[in-house]
């Protein structure tokens, strides 16, 4: 005590700034926060979003862009908005979620004075969401296991005889239920409403060879490590895994379900809805979308960007004219109306 010479007055004096710190922002003039937080699904998507969208935006506006890869699950958005503790300004979501979360009053409307409706495909300019990229749920496989005789169609994931080994399926309905029904003989035009008990019976016929994944980064890692022989996974991650494994992992768009990622703004986001819309507008720049495609194989939504894809990479673009005819589009309206109830039912049936 003596050596420190810490009497009560000194101690109080030194503690004062600490005690006053929480009050400081309140006394200064109301300065806007110069930072935008974007929530996406992690792994390679973090540096890709930073480079393609974040850094150019910071250069243009001086606003720092932070990418949080912890996954903007609907439950987390709901918890944040309802508790008034919103941490994210923008989330990488999906069309049906933009519809249903918007209807629940959890999202801020998109400002179409800033965002250009003409730069997204039809049906992608929603009151509470804007299309951000295209991805498909493709079938990917390990060529060390299957050689040149890999799967030819997404429904091959259900063919245990020809394609034995552990296989990855998404733990929710998307892709898993549809492909199960297609494999079971349901025609494409009669898929919706999804017959979940039938789909689950088909999934269960695979027994212990199924591994359910919940995150893109998760199935990507399992494929890279060779823990899965084949998997249904996002085309974005399949392409990245294929590049990183020098072609050991291959994938096919044949029969794949196509869907568009969507920007959504949680209601009460820290930087304000206008700033968030301004950022969305900046991501409509074809050069930036091309950069996102080059890094993470995010299929561009802006038609101008699709035209700019170099020929040697066209095979990886879900929107490429050669890939479009073999794919089909998810019924977003059915999902928007039924997602929560039917996903709960699907997961309950699966257990």
């Amino acid at each position: 005590m003596d050596r420190l010479n810490l009497n009560r007055r000194r101690l109080l004096a030194s503690a004062l700034p600490i005690m006053a710190a929480p009050l400081l922002p309140a006394c200064g003039p109301g300065k806007p926060r110069h930072e935008l937080v974007i929530a996406n699904w992690g792994g390679d998507a973090v540096p890709a979003y930073e480079a393609a969208y974040g850094e150019p935006y910071t250069r243009d506006t001086g606003v720092d862009v932070i990418v949080d890869g912890s996954g903007p699950l609907p439950g987390r958005i709901k918890a944040m908005v309802e508790s008034g503790q919103v941490e994210w300004d923008l989330c990488d979501s999906q069309i049906f979620a933009a519809m249903s979360l918007g209807k629940e009053g959890l999202l801020a409307p998109i400002d179409y004075n800033l965002v250009d409706k003409a730069k997204v495909p039809e049906g992608n300019a929603l009151p509470y969401g804007v299309g951000s990229f295209t991805a498909s749920l493709v079938i990917a496989w390990n060529t060390e296991v299957f050689g040149d005789n890999g799967p030819k169609h997404v429904t091959d994931i259900f063919d245990l005889k020809r394609f034995p080994g552990k296989r990855g399926l998404y733990s929710g309905m998307q892709g898993t239920a549809e492909y199960a029904l297609l494999a079971d003989g349901v025609p494409l035009e009669k898929l919706y409403p999804l017959d979940l008990p039938r789909a689950v019976r088909k999934v269960k016929s695979l027994g212990d060879s199924v591994v359910f994944w919940s995150r893109d980064a998760e199935v990507q890692r399992h494929m890279m490590q060779g823990e899965l022989a084949l998997a249904i996974m996002g085309s974005t991650r399949a392409e990245v895994a294929s590049r990183q494994s020098q072609g050991r992992i291959k994938y096919s768009f044949n029969g794949a379900q196509r869907h568009n990622g969507t920007w959504i703004i949680p209601k009460g986001n820290p930087a304000g809805a206008e700033e968030a819309s301004r950022f969305i507008a900046s991501t409509q720049d074809p050069k930036r979308q091309l950069e996102a495609f080059m890094r993470l194989s995010l299929g561009p939504v802006n038609p101008e960007a699709n035209a700019m894809v170099p020929p040697e990479l066209r095979h990886a673009n879900p929107n490429d004219p050669s890939n479009l005819p073999v794919q089909w589009e998810r019924n977003e309206i059915w999902y928007a109306e039924n997602y929560v109830r039917e996903t709960a039912r699907f997961k309950d049936l699966l257990v």
Partner: protein, 292 residues
């Protein structure tokens, strides 16, 4: 003890017997617990009986929904298996520790406690590396010519049990060690001198005396296993879910907070019930090496 009471006495006398000023010291902690722990807990309970509709509907699901019954069964059976295996291994470890030289004992204890400090996440991912189809175990077994195709362990309940047992061994061993250390070695010697062979000595003398440790370790490990989240999620492959993962899914993915809150309340009640049981059969303070 006596000196402490003597010095504390005048303070109590001054402020009056009704109020012990020592409570003031922990008042911030109690207040914090009330605000940050008890109130939110009350809210969780409220959600469990009000979301989506008021009533006990969520609790009814526990009996009526096959998937919830399946989840509960998975949780109970995996926790039980983990407990049995961890107790068996922990018993051997504790038994060895009380019989080796003191320097060895210190080394073993250090390693055991050290293992507890390694992040549970890192341990779970390490098991992925070991147990995978292309993992260490399968690679070794295949290169040794013992198997032709990889054993399918990862993403099965077996992998979950292995991962959980690994985590639980220190928790099982320490209470057992404390109880065994206090068993008078002369009792076993006496049994031997009266003609009992080593097996009878162990079975009739040592084992019954170590029973309190076995029971308290067992309850403790079961409590930890019951609410385990990370290891089952990473090693389980998502086919069979335990209660903690089920809660997380219902909170984050669906969101179906009524069911999630109901499961959280069930988890809490089971844990408290087991703790109460533990309090009846064992001296909790002594279990962790504290002396009265």
């Amino acid at each position: 003890m006596a000196t402490l009471e003597l010095t504390a006495a005048p303070a109590i006398a001054r402020r009056g017997r009704a109020f012990d000023s020592n409570w003031l010291l922990i008042a911030p902690l109690l207040l914090g617990l009330l605000l940050l722990f008890l109130l939110p807990m009350l809210r969780i309970f409220t959600v469990s009986v009000t979301d989506p509709v008021v009533g006990l509907g969520n609790y009814q699901l526990l009996f009526s929904s096959p998937s919830l019954r399946g989840m509960v069964w998975t949780t109970v059976s995996l926790s039980f298996t983990t407990t049995v295996v961890a107790l068996f291994l922990g018993y051997i470890l504790a038994y060895t520790m009380i019989h080796v030289r003191e320097t060895h004992q210190v080394v073993m204890m250090t390693l055991l406690v050290f293992a507890m400090w390694v992040s549970v996440l890192i341990r779970a991912f390490s098991w992925v590396v070991v147990l995978g189809d292309q993992g260490l175990l399968n690679t070794w077994l295949m290169s040794a010519g013992l198997i032709d195709r990889p054993l399918s362990i990862l993403f099965t309940p077996t992998a979950v049990v292995i991962g959980m047992v690994h985590y639980m061994i220190p928790i099982a061993t320490l209470p057992l060690f404390t109880v065994m250390r206090d068993i008078d070695p002369r009792l076993s010697q006496a049994a031997r001198s009266l003609g009992a062979n080593p097996f009878v000595t162990f079975g009739r003398v040592f084992f019954p005396l170590s029973m309190p440790g076995l029971i308290s370790s067992g309850i403790l490990v079961f409590i930890f296993s019951f609410g385990f989240y990370i290891t089952p999620t990473i090693l389980g492959g998502g086919r069979r879910t335990m209660i903690a993962e089920y809660i997380s899914r219902n909170v984050l993915e669906l969101p179906r907070w009524g069911v999630a809150s109901m499961c959280a309340v069930v988890l809490l009640v089971v844990t408290f019930a087991l703790l109460a049981l533990l309090g009846r059969v064992a001296n909790v303070r002594q279990m962790f090496g504290g002396r009265l």
